[in-house]
């Protein structure tokens, strides 16, 4: 592969790399007849970003005779090459040395030339098999507006929750009603729908996702001075960010969202939560102590608010869970322990409250694409052809039955589940690791 482009466009690519570098430690580059695509995935695999540049951005664009071309390189050296682009007048990217190196030639002002050779780590590509066509909720607005939302939150914040109603959007650093510890400052920003260029939210929806990757993408939107579109369905299903500029640049960020059953709610909030929240709630028993009659009644109340055609009794619910091919994020328990908030509180107040309520939307199971859709498929060129995995094949592969016993054995097992995963899935251990949507990788 060899392509050339002039300085201004090279600076855009540099900005894209800088943005992607805040998401993952590796950069996946793919060249095909449509142009060049760069992708990155975060270490916990809860976010995949992809930025595509059309052929029209390049002066010359030569593909190898074999057609497509893709490679994986380490982000760090790449970032070094594309750090300072002010002086660059012309840029040439090529794959050399028997596909072992990516060569970057930068012709700069003042008769200066820079050359860099970056080792190709692997001939790998990633794709995310998430349908990005139609989401019930879509919000479109200038990057400045989203920047203001993002800037309202502290940089140490990890998650952002968007509460969308048909006429307003609230951005919060917490989930309404969720347990927080007494050192946590809840922050929220309330915006009217009229602030956005386009605002389509038919039913209320609450989604929680990782803010770090969102911010990384926002930086690129700012560099392009482009508008952004957010598309999402409901908690647990993917949250999608799109940026488009002049048909030349298309960007897509897919973020997993926090599944409702992973949130522990505060007793103080529960009644209000039930009346306010549009999503049907089902309570799930987490602690194995006998609920008192009063709590039994409360749970009944919760169940009553669910859609009638779905039987959401406790046992039914558990059965459903066995059908859904989920792998509880292997790192989730670790995170809860590390945070020391939810888990501590559970222990402290377990006696009094006897149980924790977790909102689980039954609707998700029936309507939203299976959690497998948030999965990121890795395939090696040696193992698989460089095309998208067929959808049904994917589905087949993933629906390996899982142990129905979620209550007991799971907590112990999840800690070690990394050992049971497919070996070619590179999952990096990270102290910060967290998953927001169930991953469909099976653990057995």
């Amino acid at each position: 592969m060899k392509c050339t482009l002039e300085g201004g466009n090279a600076r855009v690519i540099a900005k894209a790399i800088q943005s992607l570098s805040k998401i993952g430690k590796e950069l996946f580059i793919e060249a095909d007849v449509h142009g060049l695509t760069m992708r990155s995935i975060n270490p916990t695999q809860s976010a995949v970003a992809s930025i595509s540049f059309s052929r029209s951005m390049f002066d010359t664009f030569n593909l190898p005779p074999s057609g497509d071309c893709f490679c994986k390189i380490a982000m760090k050296p790449c970032l070094g090459v594309f750090r300072n682009m002010k002086q660059v007048e012309y840029c040439e990217l090529s794959i050399v040395d028997n596909k072992s190196k990516l060569q970057v030639n930068l012709r700069c002002k003042l008769e200066t030339t820079k050359q860099a050779l970056i080792a190709i780590v692997d001939e790998l590509n990633i794709t995310a098999s998430v349908s990005t066509d139609q989401s019930p909720n879509s919000i479109h607005g200038d990057h400045k507006l989203f920047m203001e939302i993002s800037n309202s939150f502290n940089s140490s914040e990890e998650e952002l929750t968007l509460e969308a109603t048909p006429d307003s959007l609230s951005a919060k650093n917490y989930i309404e009603g969720a347990r927080v510890n007494d050192k946590f400052m809840r922050s929220q920003l309330k915006l009217k729908h009229s602030e956005f260029e386009h605002y389509q939210v038919t039913e209320g929806s609450v989604v929680t996702f990782c803010i770090k990757e969102f911010r990384a993408f926002l930086l690129f939107a700012e560099a392009l001075n482009a508008a952004m579109t957010l598309e999402f369905d409901d908690a647990g299903s993917p949250f999608i960010v799109k940026i488009k500029k002049h048909q030349d640049i298309e960007c897509l960020l897919i973020l997993s969202t926090l599944a409702p059953e992973d949130v522990s709610f505060s007793e103080d909030y529960r009644p209000r939560d039930i009346t306010v929240c549009n999503t049907p709630n089902a309570s799930q028993k987490r602690k194995s102590s006998t609920p008192g009659p009063e709590i039994q009644q409360k749970r009944r109340l919760a169940e009553d608010t669910t859609l009638s055609e779905l039987d959401t009794s406790l046992f039914q619910f558990r059965d459903r869970r066995t059908e859904v091919p989920t792998e509880p994020a292997s790192v989730q328990p670790a995170r809860m322990l590390a945070d020391g908030d939810t888990m501590d509180l559970v222990d402290e107040e377990a006696e009094e409250e006897a149980m924790l309520l977790a909102v689980s939307d039954a609707m998700e199971a029936s309507q939203i694409p299976r959690p497998s859709s948030t999965e990121v498929c890795f395939y090696n060129t040696e193992d698989a052809p460089p095309t998208l995995l067929p959808e049904d094949n994917n589905e087949e592969d993933e629906s390996i039955p899982q142990s129905p016993d979620r209550e007991r054995g799971l907590r112990v097992r999840t800690i070690f589940s990394r050992c049971f995963q497919n070996t070619y899935v590179p999952r990096e251990p990270s102290p910060n690791s967290q998953m927001y949507a169930p991953n469909s990788d099976t653990e057995d």
Partner: protein, 291 residues
């Protein structure tokens, strides 16, 4: 127990934000004493190993807050005592910051119970990109201090000083003390009734003497200074350089003048008049100077 206050003036909101930002640079925790006529904010990490000095700010409630209502837990009390994270308070007020492009219509403070007691900071903000006002809410978690523990949270008293000088060169003073930190662990304030202040830092490698002359003498008053010999004498006190530097580097207020009071060999009292009824104080205790 109830507390509710509202600010409407942009200038006051900015000042309030600057005060919170200053305190956040000095300490983790901030004590808020809510009284009928005044609100006090105190940071005191003297007992910790940090190098921050004791700093407090007293605000006349009527000046800053056109709406200000406080109801103590019991009628015989006249205070509400809250402890909160200084950083949280500062972040919650950051939207009021001068220089931010958004304009703020109003800012409310409300004591609430949402899972935990909090001060809700509710700002109504208009961004330059849209005409619609937005509501920005931060719930700063607070600990309500019971009256039995109030004695440890009381407002410090300004010590009696022999001399108070007004130094109009706060910027130079800040830069100087910051550099002295790298020269010597302590330095000496020498004040004279002739309106001169000398700062002396001494170490094995260097001695640095800085003179601020022709200063305004606030105390003793010109009238009283007829006492002769006593007023001629220099009043001096040696303080911890890191502590002094922590104070000056934390200041986020636009003041150019600071009042420096010296209680000979006991302490340095610093006073910043943000406006007539809004005053920031700090005390730098004396340390043994190596002479």
């Amino acid at each position: 127990m109830k507390f509710h206050a509202k600010m409407l003036d942009v200038l006051y909101m900015r000042e309030f934000q600057a005060i919170a930002a200053t305190l956040a640079k000095l300490a983790k925790e901030c004590v808020m004493l809510v009284a009928q006529e005044q609100m006090h904010l105190i940071v005191n990490e003297e007992h910790c190993s940090t190098s921050s000095p004791l700093v407090w700010v007293s605000i006349a409630s009527k000046d800053y807050f056109p709406e200000y209502q406080m109801t103590p837990a019991r009628p015989e009390h006249d205070l509400i005592v809250l402890v909160m994270s200084a950083m949280h308070l500062s972040r919650a007020l950051a939207v009021l910051r001068s220089g931010s492009s958004s304009s703020v219509h109003s800012c409310k403070l409300e004591l609430k119970q949402i899972q935990f007691p909090c001060i809700s900071v509710i700002a109504s903000v208009v961004s330059p990109n849209s005409s619609e006002p937005r509501e920005v809410v931060h719930d700063v978690p607070v600990t309500v201090v019971p009256p039995s523990d109030w004695s440890s949270y009381m407002l410090p008293k300004v010590p009696n000083t022999q001399i108070v000088l007004g130094v109009p060169s706060l910027r130079l003073l800040r830069s100087l003390i910051d550099k002295l930190k790298n020269i010597s662990p302590s330095f000496i304030f020498h004040g004279s009734t002739a309106g001169e202040l000398n700062l002396v830092a001494e170490s094995e490698m260097a001695t640095i003497t800085t003179r601020f002359s022709r200063l305004l003498l606030h105390k003793p008053d010109q009238g009283q200074s007829g006492a002769g010999a006593e007023t001629e004498s220099e009043i001096r006190c040696s303080v911890d350089t890191r502590k002094a530097s922590a104070f000056f580097n934390a200041l986020q207020l636009p003041n150019e003048e600071i009042m420096i009071g010296i209680d000979s060999e006991r302490c340095i009292c610093l006073q910043l008049d943000i406006r007539s009824n809004v005053v920031l104080h700090s005390i730098l205790p004396a340390v043994c100077a190596e002479i």
